[in-house]
Amino acid sequence: MANAIQTEKLTKYYLGKKVLGIKSLDLEVKEGEIFGFIGPNGAGKSTTIRLLLDLIRPTSGNGKIFGLDINENSVEIKRLIGYLPGEVFLPEHLSGRQSIEYYSKFKEKIDSDYLRSLIKKLDLDLNKKIKEYSKGNKQKLAIVLALMHKPKLLILDEPTSGLDPLNQQSFYNLILETKKWGTTTFFSTHILTEAERICDRVGIIKSGKLLKIENIDQFKEKNIREIHLETTGEIPLSHFQVNGIKKVERTTIGYKITTIGPNAMTLSKILSNKIIDVKISEPSLEEIFMKYYKE
């Protein structure tokens, strides 16, 4: 399968060579896949996306989208892509309808039935001015603008940050729908469950360096979780000797356990103790990288 995105030693420093954006990024995103680009804030995700969009210029290295150079063929590339930023800034005096009319003039072909269905699915009021939109509605409008021309490549930069859970679900469905007509999606996020839900492969980036690329099944297997136990007393250490428990810490009200993999065995053994409450959460990416990727 051909590559939708390919970068070779793509490097970006800011302020001369003082601040590293990304370093020697070698990345291949195949046509038709949904590729998650995961990393904490400041890891280099947005820098990579801005380089791909030719908003910033690389210090060294190069990149190609559908075989076209990201700097030399930027205009041709932009005919093929849809971009959705995490925070949307559009001309505020335009109404939703006017902004769709304006940006659609840059596109070669708009499927008006699909456009109508997008607006309906997202329940978007197009008569309001953009300055009157909530953050969520601005995000919905940007989703319409990114998808309305059925692009060959979708570039999404933390796209769900302004959406409530219901709209997030609609958004995931829309992205999965685009896959049916062969759209490739490059999706940056710092939310693991989001990547697990829709991505085929994920690239893990931290401090400007790509640590690993994994299939989503390999990634899901890790299932890194934190289990917070509130107890009435101590739990014997032997109860924590279960496959998958990586770390046990004492807290003021009980224990914090870090686990990898399925949690059924762990929970059945621990819950035989005097437990008042159990909370299971996703650790921060920083913690995951510290524990799993040893970075």
Binding site: R50, R57, K78, V88, F89, F106, L145
Partner: protein, 264 residues
């Protein structure tokens, strides 16, 4: 390109009308004042002004003040017209790059299939048209008002003024556009352009007042723009026109080069 030009025109037409109404009101005030002023002994009135004051505003000849060309030039066209339209031009050029980056709408615009060069040229075309439009309408207003108030003013002179004033404003547009590619905010671009405009004007005036500076008058852009002479003679100095157009072109090319290398 046409999509951007139409969209920007939709955004700007209201402010264009407000600027025109302001200029019309100013022209009206000056033209309605002139018949009364002309009946007065303007020469002796102006002769009571300090000589430096009149020289500062570009009028060294007392007798010219009793003519509409000299009066219009002193009271309106030599500075206030250029300052008013210059501010419009500076704001417009400031919005093109610095303002759009500041508001962060540039990001989304540049993810559309249009090159940075075409984006700047599209907005420049509109900026040039608008400054030409304001200058033409001001000249037409002056011509129309001259008929109402029975003041004789040469159409040829007004055409010559329109051409050179437009080119002077385009030169300031080029300067502002270049600053827009370098600076961070629209307001800094507008303020810097007006500072440069006033700097040139003050320098030009000083060359008339301070004898030692007299030979340096060519170093001010206002050396190329003498509304009184243009209105009186109706002659366009081609070299002056080319230099003004050259300044605009250099500013446009410079801004495109810088913008194409700029990280957004």
């Amino acid at each position: 390109m046409i999509t951007i030009i139409i969209q920007k025109f939709k955004e700007q037409w209201r402010s264009l009308i407000y600027y025109f109404l302001g200029l019309l009101a100013y022209s009206w005030m000056i033209m309605s004042l002139f018949p009364t002023m002309a009946k007065m002994d303007l020469e002796s009135l102006y002769s009571q002004y300090p000589e430096e004051f009149l020289k500062f505003f570009g009028s060294e000849q007392m007798e010219s003040m009793s003519k509409i060309e000299g009066f219009l030039s002193l009271e309106f066209l030599s500075l206030f017209f250029i300052l008013i339209v210059g501010f419009y031009v500076a704001s417009s050029a400031g919005s093109t790059i610095a303002g759009a980056i500041e508001k962060r709408i540039m990001d989304f615009q540049l993810t559309q299939p249009i090159s940075r060069t075409k984006l700047v040229i599209s907005e420049t075309i509109l900026g040039l048209f608008n400054s030409f439009f304001l200058t033409v309408l001001t000249s037409l207003s002056i011509f129309g008002l001259s008929k109402i108030y029975n003041v004789e003013i040469s159409a040829k002179g007004l055409i010559a003024f329109t051409v050179i004033a437009t080119l002077l404003l385009w030169a300031f547009y080029g300067i502002a556009l270049f600053l827009s590619s370098l600076l961070r905010t629209k307001i800094i671009v507008a303020a810097s352009t007006i500072f440069i405009l006033m700097g040139f004007y003050i320098f030009s005036s000083m060359t008339r007042i301070v004898e030692k500076l007299a030979d340096y008058d060519k170093y001010s852009i206002f050396y190329l723009y003498d509304p009184e002479k243009l209105l009186t003679t109706g002659n366009i100095n081609i070299n002056h026109a080319l230099i003004l157009f050259g300044i605009f072109t250099a500013g446009l090319v410079g801004s495109i080069v810088v913008f194409n290398k700029k990280d957004i």
